[in-house]
């Protein structure tokens, strides 16, 4: 595949369902998985609501895309970061969020959950360290 591997960071700042941003971001991440790049996701502000567990959209007639987040580890997504301040100001803790398992098919390395709650300074660092940022 491509010779140069870049670090891609997808920044998600919108709540799911009220607007199309969350779903569109997820689509782009899944499409991007075909290109063998290093992909990380960051959830900030209302974006943290995308990861809440137990979403049931039967009452609103929309597709429930939250199960897709749980499979991101199978789509080359290596890191998922959640801003601690954004979680706390919304009355949430990591227990409210879905778990995303990850496995390296070649080395057999496994992680039960790659969702990591980080402080604002780390958010800044991850943005700084990435080569390309897509913000939704």
């Amino acid at each position: 595949m491509s010779e140069v591997v870049k670090k891609y960071l997808y920044v998600n700042r919108k709540a799911p369902y009220g607007t199309i941003y969350a779903w569109e971001s997820l689509e782009v991440v899944l499409i991007g998985a075909a290109f063998d790049q290093e992909v990380s996701l960051m959830f900030l502000d209302d974006g943290v609501f995308q990861l809440t567990k137990g979403q049931d959209t039967t009452g609103i007639g929309m597709k429930n895309f939250s199960p897709t987040y749980r499979s991101l580890g199978d789509y080359e997504v290596k890191n998922i970061y959640v801003d601690r301040n954004s979680l706390e100001s919304r009355g949430l803790t990591q227990d409210d969020l879905v778990k995303v398992a990850w496995e390296d098919w070649e080395s057999g390395e496994e992680k039960e959950d790659i969702v990591e709650v980080v402080d604002s300074a780390r958010v800044t660092e991850h943005m700084d360290e990435s080569d390309v940022i897509f913000s939704f």
């Binding site: 369902y17 809440t52 009452g59 100001s89």
Partner: protein, 102 residues
């Protein structure tokens, strides 16, 4: 003239709820729908605003929109009533008009 106010924006992203609560006449009804439901949750930075509003307004939240986003009654601020679509229709019919804050 009684008014049903609907708010469909997250209180953390827009000031729709803040403006609605500021201008709503005492005794009016406020229904939180779509991303507006996040204002009904306990323990958020918007909780104080909603609790204060309960002193002179009736506040409702649409159950199907709560469930879609992974939340239920037990996470909702005391005094905010969870309603279904039928109750939404009743509220709209009971009031003289509906003000949809976007």
């Amino acid at each position: 003239m009684s008014i049903l106010h609907t708010v469909n924006k997250s209180p953390f992203e827009r000031n729709s709820l803040e403006s609605c609560l500021k201008f709503a006449q005492g005794g009016s009804s406020v229904l939180l729908i779509e991303d507006g439901i996040y204002a009904a949750l306990k323990g958020t930075s918007a909780e104080g605003q909603v609790k204060a509003a309960l002193d002179n307004l009736s506040v409702y939240v649409l159950g199907p929109d709560l469930a879609a986003r992974g939340f239920h009654q037990e996470r909702v601020i005391e005094g905010v009533e969870v309603v279904d679509y039928a109750a939404f229709v009743d509220l709209a019919a009971e009031n003289d008009k509906v003000h949809a804050w976007l």
